[in-house]
Subunit: 332 residues, 2 copies
């Protein structure tokens, strides 16, 4: 993939902060690659970057318009086509992390071809995968898993990778979703792989490595989510993690997108992930809890982390607020 | 799909009886649609149908050459291209249940186009699926699950559907793999669906139905198979089964294709499937065990079934040898 930078982050008319996670990830983890955000009337959320018009962005050097919003089906709404076409006309490539392919829309295909622009679908793997073989690989692996979707698995993985490197440990972040791929420049969007090859793709994502090397693998979905548990399980088996970190967001009342679906407990999430992980790595163990505490005060966050730590017997921190030391210590 | 019958079943140079399950399924469940089998030097297995040349088959009216073998990656070996081209030249369509698409091979694409023949990839869904919503549907559902791949889930499902209908129960077989689709003429090859949509596709496969109607859904893979558990879990969640039948093959020493991977116990398989199924249907229950006892004598089969029944507290039968009555009774 040759994604031209800097980006203009298109967030549409989003009103749910979780729905712009693609844009927010780039703004948070690669701000130096972003000139600003493009929002439409009705938009009530923000990446925190300056709000620009396409013209402003071009003037500031923007080379790619990143479709920075997401929805459950990963579709591109036709109402955004004029905006996307305008960006193409003004010289930008288009980067999408949605299921729908950009070239499926003939006006985009035609304009990109005529103007010699790139339409980049980072979610669509180009490789052919093989089915998994379950054979244990060398090197060490940590996988983030979750009580739900969008609870902070990618942020936790990126934070852990950075903290390990800062401590002199050889570690590699392995992206499994469009946001992680946008931030890190490589990876496999595991939810876009054909079902038969989920575990095989996960095996290829973290190949044999030196004994002391850590792959920090971004988890996807949740074993307790009725729509995505299959993806989570295939990724878990193929990753063969030695260590698991359970990610959880405070104050969720139901599973993401499913008002009728109750939330699992942390204890159940820990037990189920350990049990399933041991199919391909008998020594797999949950070594910590990563809490997304953004819905409460600093003080309350500390007290909730302490309570979770007592309840689970595991270190619990919010990687966006606290030092990661307790989890790093549990790792080594 | 408009698959022209009768079929000539191509089994290549297979030596593993399980690898020709596509051909064997058609021979066993739709013999009236098959003229015979086509085998190459080295082939040491058979569907039981007469062995014919392509010329013989054409003379007997064959309209489609069915690629009746399978392998773990679902690939088409280039060494079969001359045979497939010969069948096209003599007037046949080609039907494949492999991952590789027939038209990816340019000589096939060119010949089919020139000769106006169909290249049918029954494993490749043409629909766009949505992600699952986990909302409970009306009607009743039974899903076959397994200790492993290729243990008899499709045969059990077809047998159960037939037995229910013979007993005046309104029942529909729902195919989830290429063999079931070939036999029944419709269905979704669930292992070919993009990972994000496994459960959503499974939800669409068995839609709302009258309260007394049973969908008998063909299971895939096994929660204990490192390569395919994600597919099995997504199918389990989307199917929302009221009843589960665990399928098991006697005398397997390891998981299919993975010599290093130990076999799960029946008790563990029952417990794990019930636990996972209850995420989307809290009353899901394993109601019986279906044993593939083809590796032992009639007498031994009866005694093993009795032992399993004592051990699990569930009816246990081999649907290819015994009456299905004990399982039907457990259903109603």
């Amino acid at each position: 993939m040759n994604i031209r930078t800097p980006y203009l982050l298109f967030i549409g008319d989003a009103s749910d902060p979780l729905s712009i996670k693609m844009a927010k990830s780039a703004a948070d983890w690669s701000p130096e690659k972003c000139v600003g955000e493009l929002a439409m009337p009705g938009c009530s959320v923000s990446t925190g970057l300056p709000r620009l018009s396409i013209e402003d962005a071009v003037e500031r050097g923007a080379k790619s318009l990143v479709l920075g919003f997401a929805n459950s089906g990963g579709t591109i709404d036709e109402k955004w086509l004029p905006t996307i076409l305008h960006a193409l006309n003004l010289g930008m490539d288009i980067v999408s992390g949605l299921h729908d392919k950009l070239e499926e829309f003939s006006p985009l295909k035609e304009a990109a071809s005529r103007l010699q622009r790139q339409l980049i679908n980072i979610r669509h793997p180009k490789e052919k995968f093989r089915t998994a073989n379950g054979v244990k690989r060398t090197g060490k692996r940590l996988l983030t898993v979750g009580t739900d979707c969008s609870v902070g698995k990618m942020y936790t993985s990126l934070s852990l990778t950075k903290a390990l490197r800062d401590n002199g440990v050889d570690a590699t972040f392995r992206a499994t979703g469009q946001c992680g791929i946008l931030v890190s420049g490589s990876g496999i969007a595991i939810d876009c792989v054909v079902a038969d090859f989920i575990s095989g793709a996960a095996e290829s994502l973290s190949p044999n490595a030196p004994a002391s090397h850590w792959d920090i693998i971004e988890g996807q979905g949740s074993l307790s989510h009725p729509a995505f548990a299959g993806v989570s399980l295939g990724l878990l088996h193929g990753s063969q993690p030695d260590a698991l970190v359970v990610c959880h967001a405070l104050n969720r009342t139901h599973m993401r997108g499913l008002p009728h679906q109750a939330f699992p407990t942390l204890q159940d999430t820990i037990a189920m992930n350990e049990m399933q992980a041991r199919l391909t790595n008998p020594s797999a163990k949950v070594i910590g809890v990563s809490l997304n505490s953004s819905s409460v005060s600093e003080e309350e966050a500390l007290s909730v982390c302490a309570a979770i730590s007592r309840e689970t017997g595991l270190p619990c921190i919010d990687p966006m607020r606290h030092e990661l030391t307790p989890i790093l210590e549990a790792l080594v």
